[in-house]
Symmetry: C2
Subunit: 217 residues, 2 copies
């Protein structure tokens, strides 16, 4: 009569994906250092021993979570940007990112110096971001809508501004989303010789991908 209550049996890939997403949700809520295997297991609805069936160590799990976060984020961003005209794409890329996304980035900055695999992933994805922005800048220049003597350098500069503003907005909380966008747009317009106000006008509705459906407690 003591019926064994098992979680639904799933394929390896499905379960693995489920675990990674749950980990990511918890990382966004509690930071890389704050997630425990037991919490992840509870979130998924399985026993904590099962996690080890998919990831040989905790570090491997959180590294996979960060990798998944950025990979899926950048994939959906690329798809979104491709469908926009150059200036709108620039505005869309520079506009403030959802809270959850940036929390993960900020946590990664904090943990990377202590976690080599995370540092490697961070380095790689940061360069990806700079490259994407560089190509967007090149599209703007090629369309004759702006100027840039060194798109890669301008990309690096604007990435720094966007990150710094995101810190003020998401972590410190001294500015709201409109102020954040205003600052980044102003710097970008001046740096790339765009018409003042053009980025704010072109800014598309923020519809970036969500990996964090359902709030982690």
């Amino acid at each position: 009569m003591a019926e064994r209550k098992s979680a639904e049996r799933k394929s390896s890939d499905e379960r693995r994906d489920e675990i990674v997403r749950a980990t990511l949700r918890l990382v966004a809520a509690k930071g890389f250092a704050g997630v425990t295997l037991r919490e992840v297991a509870t979130e998924v609805g399985v026993v904590h021993g099962l996690i080890r069936h998919y990831f040989t160590s905790r570090d491997e799990l959180v590294a996979a979570a960060f990798d998944f976060a950025v990979t899926s984020e950048l994939a959906s961003d690329r798809a979104l940007l491709d469908g926009l005209d150059p200036v709108a794409a620039l505005a869309g890329w520079l506009a403030a990112t959802p809270e959850d996304h940036y929390r993960v980035w900020i946590d990664a900055w904090s943990e990377a110096p202590r976690t080599p695999p995370l540092a490697a992933a961070l380095d790689r994805h940061h360069r990806d971001c700079e490259r994407i922005l560089t190509s967007v800048i090149e599209r703007v220049v090629d369309a004759g809508l702006g100027a840039s003597a060194d798109p890669a350098a301008d990309s690096r500069l604007l990435t720094a501004v966007a990150d710094g503003v995101a810190v003020q907005h998401h972590a410190v909380g001294v500015i709201d989303v409109d102020e954040a966008n205003a600052i980044v747009f102003a710097v970008a317009e001046r740096q790339l010789a765009l018409e003042p106000g053009s980025l704010a006008r072109a800014n598309p509705v923020p519809a970036r991908g969500q990996w964090a459906e359902g709030a982690a407690r």
Copy 2:
């Protein structure tokens, strides 16, 4: 014959200070979430029970450590800046900060959303930093060496750039200290209508206060 080996008996203030500094060193090395009372005690050379004699909880300890870090850092910065001419002060403030210092800031950004007292301290100190930079900008303007329509807004902007560049330098590691300074200086010179290169020339030797003598393991 079993001689009791005690740590040197110290005054309350002395010991408290010693504990806070040790905590800060460990926070810089392992993050706010990574420090344990036992490690702090070992670092100081006492038993972990003694920590509780000075701080009623772990949270109170790390909050005190962050507060001490920023308070002493800003105090020594203020003293340094006051002795410099306006442009040199601006360059000194914007120039890259020692690794340990920024590690603590980045960790605070990461932890603040989860730790209310840390969030309060972060908000306060962030505003302090913006205020200091604002007054430096005003000194530059008053001396007729540069222009700023809104010193507070420019301070906010340059703070964002400095933070974003610091992330790229200290956390991600994609740029070195010279590149970091070059980016921040270039933005500041353009934003404040300074002569290009003037900040690099005026940049004083980095001699900011050190609270982290002796490396934490």
